[in-house]
Amino acid sequence: MTQQLPHPYSQYKMTIGIECHVQLATRTKLFSAADNDAREATPNSKIVPIDFGLPGMLPVLNRRAVELAVKAAKALNADVALESRFDRKHYFYPDLPKGYQISQMYQPIILAGYLDAPLESGETVRVRIHHAHLEEDAGKLTHKDGYSLVDLNRAGTPLIEIVSEPDIHSASAAKAYASELHKLMIYAGVSRGDLYHGNMRFDVNISVAKHEAKALGTRAEVKNLNSFKSVEKAAEYEFKRQVDLLESGGRVVQETRGWDDTKLITISQRSKEDAQDYRYMPDADIPPIRLTSEQVNEIQANVPMLPFEYRNSWKELELDISVIEALLSNQSYAKLVDEIKQTSTNAHARRVAHWFASAIRPEDDVTVQQLSALKPAGFIELADMVEADELSSTAAKEVFSELLVSDHTAREIAEQRNLIQNSDEDEIATIVDAVLSDPASARSIEDIKAGKDKAIGYLVGQIMKLSAGKANPALAQKLLRERLR
């Protein structure tokens, strides 16, 4: 958000910290063997007695969830605590079967770190991570007229809650942070990142204060945002709401607010006075998680290349930031482009990068599909053909689109579609001469000689027609100009 804000907004600065709940891509829940993928499942069909909070049930920690947290630490440039513990957070609500949530209050598994979020301007904003901890999700309530329904499918789903420092000072930076976090978690294999199904949920803490103020203002927390856009919009709305409130002589109340995605406004939910005492205590059912540096290194060695590593790798490709970010919105594309860079030429990688970037539509922003079947060879071949002038850039795009979904080689596709262009100078010269000697061309030739350069279009068109569309248009134009000079 770089536009100039009107007075009095320009006198204020916003400060934002974000807590993000990331659902881990484990097969089973954090403390039970129940299926962790409850998307579209019948309510209460993905639960075992542990998730139901039956008497006598005990949590059994999912080893894979610990491994994913260790991977997340790498993505967040953070150290892993070699000893971490679980605590119980108590409150009564029907979506919480045990009357407490198992979380990590005192000794979280992920220590301080940071991430660099790229802004549209090309700059980056560094946001420090305070810590991140493992915890279980609660279930879901659906309120009906006079009664409520409880679905515990999601109860016990493993999460890591990533807590940022208040290092964010604009709505666009908040969006960039959320988006970068999303990429990092997907790339590291930590989460499926399915935002539609709530795989990542953001709580945005925001306060405003005059630029010269030394202390931060009172913050409000907007909870449960599940898209980058809503993070940005909620921050923009809150900034204005809080400044308006202060300017009209009011004061900001520390409270939790909800987000109305239709009206694009935040709504007060509960104030600090209603804040619960969670009575945290260590969970004696779960021994501490103890890891060695060797174990951490071994797990982290399996983390695939991360977004910031791709950006570094691609510096020499001199790609536009929009192209880079478009590519990074799909891990398969990024991986493929980088493989081409490693195994072929930078020019090829650059060409393929542009093809992929233009193939990504804005709605692909939330990418979950992984096109792992893509192999670099086909794209290298395609780039070779373009470089050898065998394909026009339009034809190349057509072949590229087909290559994404086809088993055929680039050449096979180009041949099937009759797209290979003729770049044989002698053959094209013959056609050029034929066109120039055609009386119908006389008018255009005169025009060109008179300086009306646009008239060359007609001649090129005639050449393409005579060659059944296969003549290399650039070569045809070059030969035409030589003859009309």
């Binding site: 006598g56 049930m57 005990l58 029907p94 045990k98 005492d277 009575r279 945290y280 059912d285």
Partner: protein, 461 residues
């Protein structure tokens, strides 16, 4: 018939053994030691054993579970209104393991509701009477199982011990009771009281029988992360010719009934007679252990009992008109007074501003207590003390004075806080004919040593 060996060598069929136990159970119904009999299921299993379908080390031997362990055949009530009609969908690991060896559960025993108490007077279903004097308490919280064993209904009964709930009723009823090293037996399927001190043990007539039962129940369970690898099968350490035994001085002074002291001194003499050395030792921290216990354990109770909210299962108040009322009324009506008292204490010590002052301090003190035990075990093989300051007290004597009731736990809570094994053995009889127990406490995983020593003395008796 008293012991497991006698049952196994009786020549009776499983059906006969079970029928006999059920008949005896009905005969002693006045003691109110049973909450339910699992007659139908027990007879069915007995038939399976008689037909050879099920076999094992305890084939056909009847036993009883404390009704805070999930077991089939009758509801698992925890002696509460809250779980009055709760039918478990699975069985506790300990019960499963015993059944896998052919043992047959014939019923479920009474306890203080949710195992909160030391007299079985806190049961929602009435007090259990002492096996030796029906005007006196059975002890608790595993009072029912202790009385059932003492009355020879079955050769062994299961209990849970969080702060003395096996050892004290064993002492009050004149049977052997073992609280194993924390983590010996899986807690899976046991209604949780205090996660850091809950243990599963048993009542028997002999230490040898306890060794058999514990050996079957012990071992790592994938469903309980705090279980230890099975040390029961490790090469058995026969009792050394001469053990160094420390008699804890602080447990033999003021406030301890002189007849209890006399019985423990007598037991000490018998130990010496068997060639062991008994010397007085001091454990200054022990006097603070009650304070630690009644901070830490209520804290864990307040947490573990939060799940009983009337929403998914268990008692639900029918008069509630809001969510808050549903919680408040269901918990008010479903819990006993003692449950509520402990939940209140626990919620208080965990609340913001008091957590450091109470809970954290208690945990620090607990660490001191543990190191004091460690120091003593550097010089002594095991420790000796009374189990309870007095023999069984009269029913109703302490019900209006929770502090007096808590004080009766002074001898048993130290081993619980430190996770140590402790055995309550019959040591003597008071002038009024009440049994008095002595307590042997050992370092972690010395459970078998304690039982072997107890067995050695039984032979000498």
């Amino acid at each position: 018939m008293k012991t497991i060996t006698e049952y196994l060598q009786s020549g009776l069929s499983a059906t006969e053994m079970v029928k006999q136990a059920l008949a005896r159970a009905k005969q002693v119904a006045d003691y109110n030691s049973f909450l339910s009999l699992t007659e139908e299921r027990a007879l069915k299993r007995a038939a399976q054993i008689d037909s050879g379908e099920i076999s094992g080390k305890l084939a056909g031997v009847p036993f009883v579970v404390k009704d805070n362990m999930l077991a089939f055949g009758a509801p698992t009530t925890a002696a509460s209104v809250m779980l009055k009609d709760f039918h478990a969908p699975l069985q506790a690991t300990a019960v499963e393991k015993l059944e896998a060896e052919g043992a047959i559960c014939i019923g479920k025993s009474n306890l203080d509701a949710f195992a909160h108490g030391g007299s079985t007077e806190n049961s929602a279903y009435g007090v259990t009477k002492n096996a030796h004097d029906t005007k006196r308490v059975a002890g608790g919280s595993s009072g029912g199982s202790a009385v059932i064993t003492a009355l020879d209904v079955v050769p062994f009964a299961l209990g849970t011990d969080t702060g003395g709930s096996i050892r004290q009723p064993a002492s009050f009823n004149g049977v052997v009771g073992i609280k194993p090293t924390y983590g010996t037996v899986s807690r899976y399927g046991v209604v949780a009281m205090a996660s850091s001190t809950d243990t599963i043990g048993c009542f028997t007539h002999t230490a040898a029988d306890a060794d058999v039962v514990m050996g079957i129940m012990a071992g790592r369970d994938a469903n309980d992360m705090t279980t230890l690898p099975n040390f029961w099968n490790e090469k058995s350490n026969s009792v050394k010719k001469s053990l160094q035994i420390g008699l804890i001085k602080e447990t033999m002074g003021d406030g301890i009934d002189t007849e209890v002291q006399a019985a423990v001194y007598e037991y000490a003499e018998r130990l010496k007679g068997a060639g062991h050395t008994v010397r007085e030792v001091s454990m200054p921290t022990i006097s603070y252990s009650l304070g630690m216990y009644y901070v830490i354990v209520p804290a864990e109770i307040s947490s573990n009992l939060a799940r009983y909210d009337g929403v998914r299962y268990g008692y639900r108040s029918q008069n509630a008109t809001s969510l808050e009322e549903l919680y408040g009324q269901s918990r008010d009506q479903g819990f006993e007074m003692e449950n509520k008292r402990r939940i209140m204490i626990g919620s208080f010590v965990l609340s913001s501003g008091f957590f450091d002052a109470y809970y954290q301090q208690a945990q620090k003190a607990r660490a001191l207590l543990c190191s004091e035990f460690d120091e003593l075990f550097a010089s002594y093989d095991l420790l000796l003390s009374p189990v309870s300051p007095t023999p069984a007290f009269a029913i109703g004597q302490k019900t209006n004075d929770p502090i007096q009731m808590y004080k009766a736990d002074i001898m048993t809570v130290p081993a619980s806080l430190a996770g140590l094994p402790a055995v309550s053995v019959p040591a003597g009889v008071s002038s009024t004919g009440l049994p008095v127990g002595a307590q042997l406490i050992g370092p972690q995983k010395s459970d078998r040593l304690l039982l072997r020593l107890a067995a050695q003395l039984e032979k000498g008796a």
